[in-house]
Symmetry: D2
Subunit: 182 residues, 4 copies
């Protein structure tokens, strides 16, 4: 996880359509809370088998006044196969209950928010602290215990950390756990 | 598994589009082989987590001259979400290599082959013997070891069995493992 | 997890033999750190499949200056089958690297520390805060994410919690996950 | 699996003590049935996590008139830790219900039957056909579906196979799945 001082503000998310949300969400509007963003594609096997169940578990476990979980459907391939119509049925069948936004289509294959964060693929887990800084960006599988510890540190953060893993971590290769972006 | 004498011929399958197949397949054309049909929906969690991996494993393990595995996309809900375009991307992402057919749309929500077989939902596993009789129809999760034993019995069948479980088996409830049809 | 104000001090542990420890450990000597005690039996299936791997993961993940993990071999049945000689081989084969103590034999079947804590069986997970209070006592399976969140809260605790689950939690039945004490 | 013609008779097993058996078993006495031998050690992680559950599943699934499952406790290390007293408690706690024999102690660390079969370690799965020939010897993890298919072939065998994998198969490395013998 990055230390606060070395970390820029997280770019605002650009969402064209929301599910499981009565009103649009924005990082600006969530300042003061820890925000967990699960970037996924509905046809990405690693997202289905562990990324999304993990996001649901975070949503279920952590107090809502401290932590907000957002799913971000960052489609960068097979666009015609993963439309919002298909996504809605997917959310229903997999019983996902946290807010899920469709990443705004961009000029090329990669959608706007995915490009702004420079994500390598899906699933990617983003952790944003109470002051709106992007503290961790992790591609592929991350152990539940590790994620929970990271989130809990951000919840209880009063003073800046002394800095640990300062860079993007992506220990897993793509083939087993995720889909790399072009 | 039904005994041969008590079992009618399996209804022919009605498929509107094939993937992973150079030519259309038919049960009539496969007479002499054991046919395993995995009826599934691409947004059915139990199909994704165990039904389809099991079908792939059967396809990989058993000799092609003895056993043919067919996936049958029996969409009975969320039709707009599970079109052939979406299915094609799904097959690609999940690396399914056995022939997969789209069950012909019917008058109502339930497609033609699914109705002909009276399937309760997805996943359903159908076992058809060398002479074209429907010997087993199983809804939900079935253990790998049990399935392999059933298939192997059909492969080595020379004389009629003396008959064991004579009826549809559906030991699993739907909520965890599958989606019941309306 | 209990709130600090409602929680008595954790009883000292009574250990007759240590593995993976150069010197005997005591709760008194660990004051200032969060202590995680995994009470287990080497022939308890739930301990082997999830309790001990979870304890190892805690030991590997959390900083040693904040968290100390202790395994406690609380044999309450089959005493002749789970001697320290067998335990030592077990620790070796399962590659457990955190300190493990043998709970002191008591007057009856239940050893001293197990009796002092009133444990229902194995596995049981005990969380002790920096000031030596027993904050959680959980029997059976506990999700990794939940455990990590609890430990992280204790690490970052500056002021007393406002109190959440105030009592022993044992959501799981014994048959699947653990062994109940007599 | 070896073809019958290329396969010698399986050496008789040497057992010093039986559990779950009213009378001692011998391969000679089981001629006419397919015999599945699961060679294991009670403190071998791969045996506990998959070898023994698989053996139990074979015992539960296949008809007793066709298939007999035997567990063989082939201790080649930590002898003092895996005595029959410990094994008995292990069998009880893990609810194993098939016959289990203790491999006769030999001159060195390796017990008699293990040496006679030239096993590389545990778990090892041995398949013996109705005529008493050793048809397969597999070290480490073997998929349920593959094992069931092999057993079913032996059950239904009327004529010799044309021979497939003719040698010992041990696709898995030891570290994850099993313990290599010295």
């Amino acid at each position: 996880m990055n230390s606060p001082s070395s970390t820029p503000m997280a770019p605002e998310i650009s969402v064209s359509q929301w599910f499981n949300a009565s009103d649009p969400l924005s990082l600006a509007g969530l300042r003061g809370k820890v925000v967990v963003i699960e970037a996924f594609q509905m046809l990405c096997p690693g997202c289905v088998s562990h990324g999304l169940p993990q996001a649901q578990q975070i949503h279920d476990l952590f107090p809502r006044e401290d932590v907000v979980v957002i799913g971000l459907h960052t489609v960068f391939e097979h666009h015609a196969a993963m439309t919002p119509v298909s996504l809605e049925a997917f959310i229903h069948e997999y019983r996902l209950s946290f807010p899920i936004g469709v990443d705004q289509a961009g000029a090329g294959d990669v959608p706007v928010t995915m490009a702004a964060y420079g994500l390598r693929g899906t699933p990617s887990l983003l952790l944003i602290d109470r002051s709106g800084r992007l503290r961790a960006k992790q591609f592929g599988h991350v152990a539940d215990m590790h994620v929970a510890y990271q989130i809990a540190r951000l919840i209880h953060e009063n003073a800046p950390f002394d800095g640990d893993h300062a860079t993007d971590s992506d220990a897993e290769t793509c083939t087993q756990n995720g889909c790399s972006a072009p």
